[in-house]
Amino acid sequence: MISIQNVSKHYGSFQVLTDCCTEVKKGEVIVVCGPSGSGKSTLIKCVNGLEPFQSGTITVDGISVGNPKTNLSKLRSRVGMVFQHFELFPHMSITDNLSIAQIKVLGRSKDEARAKGLKLLDRVGLKAHAEKFPGQLSGGQQQRVAIARALAMDPICMLFDEPTSALDPEMINEVLDVMVELAREGMTMMCVTHEMGFAKKVANRVIFMDQGRIVEDDSKDAFFANPRSERAQHFLAKILSH
């Protein structure tokens, strides 16, 4: 579904990504972790072309992201993305947030888009908030709406860029619950997150990044049981010690 081959990226002389390679098969859930500044968010943003990269290739469903001839907007409309800071549109009601791209990008009718949005809103447990504005919801609720907004486009896969790291602790679980459910339904997912509980529960593989390189790319059992690199051991020891 997603294939990342020898991807490198630099800002001027600063190397952000070096020679990253990995594959995400249909239905797989991949967790990407690593210390901050390791390039994990940049890598996931390269997958739908939000960040350009200088060398290597990324294909999504067989379509090359880096190819200038690719219709990136069309490709992005098929790849869902959830951001750290939710990025709901604050000037629109929740319903409009859910339906605007369905209408303007996919060409669905207003009624169809609204019905689909409400169905997904119900699924993330927020149907009662349909007519509110994003500013009236808690962080956890906003992030659930953001997931519903991405799902409304019927994506072939979902990218999560640290979906819980801007949330208060008591709201993290409500978002993770939605993600776990999604994973169990067979959605192809690539998640940048530090939530190791989530990784243990649903990930097929864990990718560990450090200084722009993919240092480990292993099944979750192998990763948690005995990470091969010292840096990953260090990272896990720190993150799991409490």
């Binding site: 992005r76 409309s77 951001f83 549109f89 990008v105 996919l106 991405a150 486009m153």
Partner: protein, 229 residues
């Protein structure tokens, strides 16, 4: 001691009212064109195509470095000839109003583009990313997501600029166009009551602009309350 004599004002009111309409017409046109053209300039300046940005920056810097009254004078001297030539108008057609409107609009767009540029930059970058991630094109992301938020933040500044612009319309007197100020001047000159007429004109400008700026302040308070919650 100077003796005030206001008697020439009542009879001149219809003429002054026509002048006020000219001032308002110029203001509205310049604001409307200024916002549209200013938005385009702002988007060019923020675009990743470097020469487009440089071109827009040159335009903005040029107009911001020339006194408005000179721009108006040039347009008064040049545009009428061009318009008459281009539209093959009767040489006696009065195109002073049109040329004043064009001059103001082009001049004000430079200022509006700076306000709008700041407004666009005030919208977090993640908003454009989110719009793109949903498959929107650049134009859709701008039109549906970034600009509505930018304009909501900018409305007080845009209106304040419009108030300044309304005052600046008095500069069209250089083309002898009878705007409100010009009309007041003419009446005062004719009746030898310049002081009274100019005091009256000043009072009218003050009332209009002060009332408008109070409205802007009230709107801004409402906006801040809305953002805070």
């Amino acid at each position: 001691m100077y003796e005030f004599d206001w008697s020439s004002i009542p009879g001149a009111l219809p003429f002054l009212w026509d002048g006020l309409k000219v001032s308002l017409e110029i203001t509205v046109t310049a604001v409307a064109v200024g916002i549209v053209w200013g938005t385009l300039l702002a988007m060019l300046r923020l675009s990743s195509v470097r020469w487009l940005g440089a071109l827009a920056a040159a335009y903005v810097n040029l107009f911001r470095s020339i006194p408005l009254v000179m721009v108006l004078l040039w347009f008064f001297l040049i545009v009428p000839q061009l318009l008459k030539g281009a539209l093959s108008l009767d040489p006696n057609t009065d195109v002073r109003l049109t040329s004043a409107m064009i001059g103001f609009a082009l001049f004000e767009s430079a200022y509006y583009s700076e306000i709008i540029r700041a407004g666009i930059q005030s919208v977090p970058k993640g908003q454009a990313s989110a719009a793109s991630a949903l498959g929107m094109t650049y134009a859709q992301a701008m039109r549906l997501v970034v600009l509505p938020q930018a304009f909501r933040n900018m409305v007080p500044l845009l209106l304040t600029q419009a108030i300044v612009l309304f005052q600046d319309t008095s500069l069209v007197y250089v083309s002898a166009l009878a705007d409100f100020f010009g009309a007041a001047y003419k009446v005062g000159d004719r009746d030898g009551r310049l002081v009274e007429l100019l005091l009256f004109a000043g009072a009218v400008y003050f009332v209009i602009c002060f009332a408008a700026s109070q409205l802007v302040r009230r709107y801004q308070k409402k906006l801040n309350a809305h953002v805070a919650h």
